[in-house]
Symmetry: C2
Subunit: 221 residues, 2 copies
Amino acid sequence: KNASNSRSFFQPLLHGYFRSSCSWRVRIAFALKGIDYDQVPVNLIKDGGQQLTDQYKELNPMQQVPAVTIDGVTLSQSLAIIQYIEETRPGPALLPADPQKRAKVRMICDLIASGIQPLQNLYVLQKIGEDKVSWAQHFIIRGFVALESLLKETAGKYCVGDEISMADICLAPQVYNAERFKVDVDQFPTIKRLNQTLLALEAFSTSHPSCQPDTPADLRA
Amino acid sequence: KNASNSRSFFQPLLHGYFRSSCSWRVRIAFALKGIDYDQVPVNLIKDGGQQLTDQYKELNPMQQVPAVTIDGVTLSQSLAIIQYIEETRPGPALLPADPQKRAKVRMICDLIASGIQPLQNLYVLQKIGEDKVSWAQHFIIRGFVALESLLKETAGKYCVGDEISMADICLAPQVYNAERFKVDVDQFPTIKRLNQTLLALEAFSTSHPSCQPDTPADLRA
């Protein structure tokens, strides 16, 4: 899937980074839908950050990953990308049919995507400086306290009932981030249990940061 | 609409704050759809913040506004609420029918809702302390540079083409926040032009922070 020499015009092209939780969200969605895609690594650290180049800014003016070129357009913002995939591709539904369940899925997605992830994003932590680990922990724990409380009400086998959804796509990458910042996830038994269930699925393991084309050798699973 | 003594079980109930940009998003959506609703003010400043009470935490464990009680459930996260309204209520569509246009609308919404607003949210600025104004300006300007660039490609009369959408619902409240933090919006001509168009619409003026039931007298329009 890293065969950049044989990229197909017809296959989606993911500009991402192995460890970016928002890139991982998109990789999970592709995997759950069974969609083949090509990857172009954008190294957020090397050369001062490849996302800051003029070339990349054309793809995503926010200078963040992911961006996906698909059906002749380039989209950014992971949840917008995933909903585009959901609305244009067959395969397992990533949102439930029932409107109230859909709302609960989106509520969990947005709690993570607006309430937690942006506050521990690379460019924010760069601005925070030396206190960055305690800053990230503070906002992840604050968000997980709320998320645990919501999930206790909504979860079955997965985040909302017994069907996998966009909420699960957001959960596992955020738990991965929490662990990077040494947050003790044992405090959140529902989050922990759901994450373990998700990591056992092929769509989550094949898309995991530990086994991407750009994963450095020392971080490979 | 603040008649809490005559609240109807059948009318949506918005727990919000006049100046919260995420509460304003929901008010615009209700207004565009022509939906009557009741409001319960949650004062984010008074008594140390009414959103921090145990009573409010039951409605939204993130202890933020808005929360909306509708059809027997309470939902939080403004974009999840607005999409629930879109999927269950008649009236003008808040998302285009074309999947690529929908993706562009959601991309703009998420750029604001994940890329800008969370970084200048009250509870983040409280943690930043005395540098809060320059912090907020930094992230609003960073986001507006990207947003201006996207909107130059997507905008017609409104953010995406000539039909109003969820992107417009996110734009005007974010510009309102930018102005509160003394960001010079003249730097962003497309954002400025769209905002002026939006503020002239009744759905935006009746829902504006300057004329809500909980707007203090000295801030009333």
